[in-house]
Structures are given as structure tokens and as C-alpha cells.
């Protein structure tokens, strides 16, 4: 089970993909199918164990859609 957990608020995400670009482990991917109520395809996290919790994705998100948690 991954220790670090990236939570993406699909309703706030505008699909700009700045987080996808910023992630050094490439665990985020741009949304493909479902659109949120504003018409954007939200980014998804693949829940990989590679995530180091560097917070690059959250730092680059202009819309506050990303929160990062560590399991205890």
C-alpha cells in the first residue's frame, strides 16, 4: 500500500496539466474521459508507490485542487 496519497479534487481541476509536468515520478496523468461540471477533464493520480511526497504537483496547482497525505 502506498504511503503517500495524492488527492485531486476533480471539480476544482481545470486540466491544465502543470502538475503532470511537475511530477518527477510521472504518477499523474491528464484526464481522458469524464468531464467535471465546468467541462474540464480532471487530472488523475495512479496511486503508485513511487510517490515521494515532494509536493511539486501541489505547489504548481493554480486551482488548489491537490492535497497530499501520508498514511500513518
Amino acid at each position: 500500500m502506498p504511503q503517500i496519497f495524492v488527492k485531486i479534487d476533480a471539480e476544482k481541476c481545470k486540466g491544465c496539466n502543470l502538475c503532470v509536468e511537475a511530477c518527477p515520478k510521472k504518477i499523474l496523468s491528464s484526464g481522458r474521459d469524464a468531464r467535471n461540471k465546468y467541462g474540464y477533464r480532471a487530472v488523475t493520480a495512479n496511486g503508485s508507490e513511487d510517490c515521494t511526497g515532494c509536493l511539486n504537483c501541489a505547489l504548481m496547482c493554480p486551482d488548489g485542487a491537490i492535497a497530499v497525505y501520508k498514511r500513518q
Binding site: I4, K14, N17, A22, L55, C61, P62, D63, V68, R71
Partner: protein, 248 residues
């Protein structure tokens, strides 16, 4: 679950009206995080300009005042003089601060008004539809310079941080960029230092954020960050231009 990063309480949980990939959202968050960390959220007063960030008062969870075009520094001067114990800041774009409001910002710095200005430089007028700003780069295409800005017709872009740094009463002047996680971290530090400068009553503090405008640049959000790095930063060098020591 231990939170490593959560959206700051300084921002209201609202969907912002900014375009996808616009770094206004990052600048908003950094300023509000800094105020939140310093415990100033309930005592901060912001003044917002005309431009895309005219709506910032809907998103920043502090008391805010709307100003006329370019006149945010004059309003902030008044607020700070009446409420010297509150943190007062203005948040202005380049179409606002570097063109119609140039006189206001220079004289606020000249009087050494003890507030902080956050200047968002994205080299274009955003809200009005991508016209040339004083900060538009040579060769950059905008709706009013369809063939690219030419030096012969339009002169060279203004470097506001350098101009403010030459003013004796300005206490803290720094230019930062929002193009990468490392630079976002540096921008946060500059924001904190500007607020400390104001708290210590040393004088006027000014932070310039190099920002993107994917819509009016005609680029994707990721290509916009790349253009910021390759074209804007060489003309607008990052770094601290002035720091007056706190406590002197």
C-alpha cells in the same frame, strides 16, 4: 492521514474564474499561505486592481477593497495610515501597475509607504483581450502589435522591480518567477520577507511575480511556462534588488 499539503484556509473554497494554467492562482495561494503562517489572516487588508485579478476579493479570505484602475497604491496608503497595525497589501497586474498606475506606485514607494505590493507581470493585458502592455517583450505578438512589438515603434519593455529599487524609500524589492516548483518555493520566501519588512515598519516592499497568460500568449499552459523560462527570465532577471535591514 497526516496532511503534507492542504489548500490554505486563506483561500476561499471557490472555483476561480482564471483560465486553465494561469499562474494567478499560484500567486494568490502563496500570499494567503504566507499571511496564514504569520497569523495575520484576520488582520490583513488587501487592495485589488482592475484586470483579471479584479475578482481576487472573491477568492482571498481577507478583508479587501476594490480600487480604480492603477490606484491601488493610493488606497493602500490611506488604509495603512489609518490602520498602521494591520498588514496592508496591493495585488496588481502589469497593465494596472506598469502603465496607468505607474505614477501611483512610484510615489507610494517614494513616500516610503509601509505596505506591500505584489506585482503580477505576464507581459500582456489579460482581461481586456491581450493588448500590448509596457512589459510586453520585443517581438511578442499581441492583439495591438500583430507583427510583434517593435523597438522603433513601441520602445523597450519596462523593468518595474529595477525602477522601484532605485527609489531610496523602497525597503524590499525582489523579482521571482512561478515557472517551476523550485521558483515557487523561492517566491514564497520573498513573500514572507516582504511581509516581515512591512511588519517591522522599515518601508515599502515590492515583489514582482513573473507569471503566465496561456490564453493571450496563444500557448498551452506547459508551453507558457517554457516561454516564461526562455524568453521572459533573460529580460527580467530574477533576484533581490534591495533589502533594507530589519531592526535598524
Amino acid at each position: 492521514m497526516l496532511p503534507l499539503f492542504e489548500y490554505t484556509k486563506g483561500m476561499r473554497e471557490e472555483h476561480t474564474s482564471y483560465c486553465p494554467g494561469c499562474t494567478h492562482g499560484i500567486a494568490h495561494r502563496l500570499i494567503m499561505e504566507a499571511l496564514c503562517e504569520r497569523g495575520e489572516l484576520g488582520r490583513a487588508i488587501g487592495v485589488v486592481p482592475i484586470g483579471c485579478s479584479i475578482v481576487a476579493h472573491n477568492y482571498m479570505n481577507v478583508d479587501m477593497c476594490e480600487s480604480m484602475h492603477g490606484r491601488a497604491p493610493a488606497i493602500a496608503s490611506g488604509i495603512k495610515r489609518v490602520h498602521p497595525d494591520n498588514i496592508v497589501f496591493t495585488y496588481q497586474g502589469d497593465g494596472d501597475l506598469a502603465s496607468i498606475g505607474t505614477g501611483e506606485i512610484i510615489h507610494a514607494a517614494h513616500r516610503g509607504e509601509n505596505f506591500t505590493t505584489f506585482f503580477i507581470n505576464n507581459a500582456v493585458y489579460g482581461m481586456t483581450g491581450g493588448q500590448m502592455a509596457p512589459t510586453t517583450l520585443i517581438g511578442q505578438k499581441t492583439t495591438t502589435t500583430a507583427g510583434g512589438r517593435s523597438e522603433a515603434a513601441n520602445g523597450k519593455p519596462l523593468r518595474m522591480a529595477e525602477i522601484i529599487a532605485t527609489i531610496e524609500s523602497a525597503a524590499f524589492v525582489e523579482r521571482v518567477s512561478l515557472d517551476s516548483p523550485a521558483n515557487v518555493r523561492k517566491a514564497k520566501k520573498a513573500t514572507l520577507r516582504a511581509l516581515e519588512t512591512q511588519k517591522a515598519g522599515v518601508g515599502f516592499s515590492f515583489v514582482e511575480f513573473l507569471s503566465t497568460c496561456p490564453t493571450n500568449w496563444g500557448l498551452s499552459p506547459i508551453a507558457s511556462l517554457e516561454w516564461l523560462r526562455t524568453d521572459m527570465i533573460p529580460y527580467y532577471p530574477l533576484g533581490n534588488f534591495k533589502t533594507k535591514e530589519i531592526g535598524r
